[in-house]
Subunit: 189 residues, 2 copies
Amino acid sequence: MSTTGSARPLRADARRNRERLLQTADAAFGEHGVEASLEQIARSAGVAIGTLYGHFPSRAALAAALLRERHDELFARGDSLPGERVALDALTEWMRLVAAHAAAYHGLAEFLGRGLEDENSELHADCTRLAGITERLAGQAREAGALGAHVTGADVTAVISAVSWTGEQTSPGQAERLLALAVRGMTTR
Amino acid sequence: MSTTGSARPLRADARRNRERLLQTADAAFGEHGVEASLEQIARSAGVAIGTLYGHFPSRAALAAALLRERHDELFARGDSLPGERVALDALTEWMRLVAAHAAAYHGLAEFLGRGLEDENSELHADCTRLAGITERLAGQAREAGALGAHVTGADVTAVISAVSWTGEQTSPGQAERLLALAVRGMTTR
DNA sequence: CCCGGAAATCGAGGGTGACTCGGGATAATA
DNA sequence: TATTATCCCGAGTCACCCTCGATTTCCGGG
């Protein structure tokens, strides 16, 4: 059930190319956002465009591979948070973590949002997982009486997305202010 | 200093084409968002691509023309709001109005955001105006003691953008929930 | 009514990018 | 070394953006 271990290992040249593509793509996404030119990425990696598509059949597949480790770390963190802190602290920390993660590539917030809707996206599983963790932490905060009874997991997910997007559009500082403000709006006083 | 009245009136065929382009563009933007294909718009309007560029040198110019009336209405509304209601009501009504406006075309929230940053954008004046009205209403709500003293006009603008974007990404209902939550976070209790 | 020139239109053309696919190259294995 | 499954290459197709010189169309004056 793991994403990693499937059929035969890759041929040596294939493994090399895949690695170079990932490195190059990370740099390109970092600089130009998730909509960076795939042809340029292939070129920079010293590989033909067909090779890129051979390894990653879609932009989402490439992004998913790129985010794999990062996401696993995030999931682990999200799973361990409930034990470490008061429910509300855990939730806000989680929101901050996800928002910081989304800041990796410009456009990532929207990209992840699409991944959550589109069941066929290579990112769907990851996005569902993220939403699930959010839901859980929100539920615990609600049960602890820290969150308004009417605040849903979807609300918190929306806040996280909106904050991430704001970070891209304006500045991290403005995003942080929005986050604080939203948390204040969700909590009981 | 007005945008409207400048040099000679358009030639008859030019006026006709311009009108058809605007109609077609409105439909296309409505269906496919502000990034709809300009070539397709020209084609649907029964006009060559060069003609479109003749009338509207950039996508932003086309959008600006398309939003002209809508914006003037919005500005008028925003200017009259302070007299009509309690400061906080006026502000939240304004936020709702702008968010509803941004729902006209998918991608408009981000588009307007760019227009606010980019001084050369054909939308810059409009966006600045929007932000100005927001600032004013926010200031009055703050002075009335309804808004937290630390809440800036930029914060409110960010909230409006984020709410608009959320409406595009998820649903109007979710956007409304985010708005309510944000207002709760900005107000004194 | 016709004509000259300003105004407007046309659309080929140059660039960029997504994505496909069949032939050729190459690494692994016997 | 020979075989073959695997992998890579990149030209080709299509869509889109945007420019610009050639051409057409309108319009006001003679």
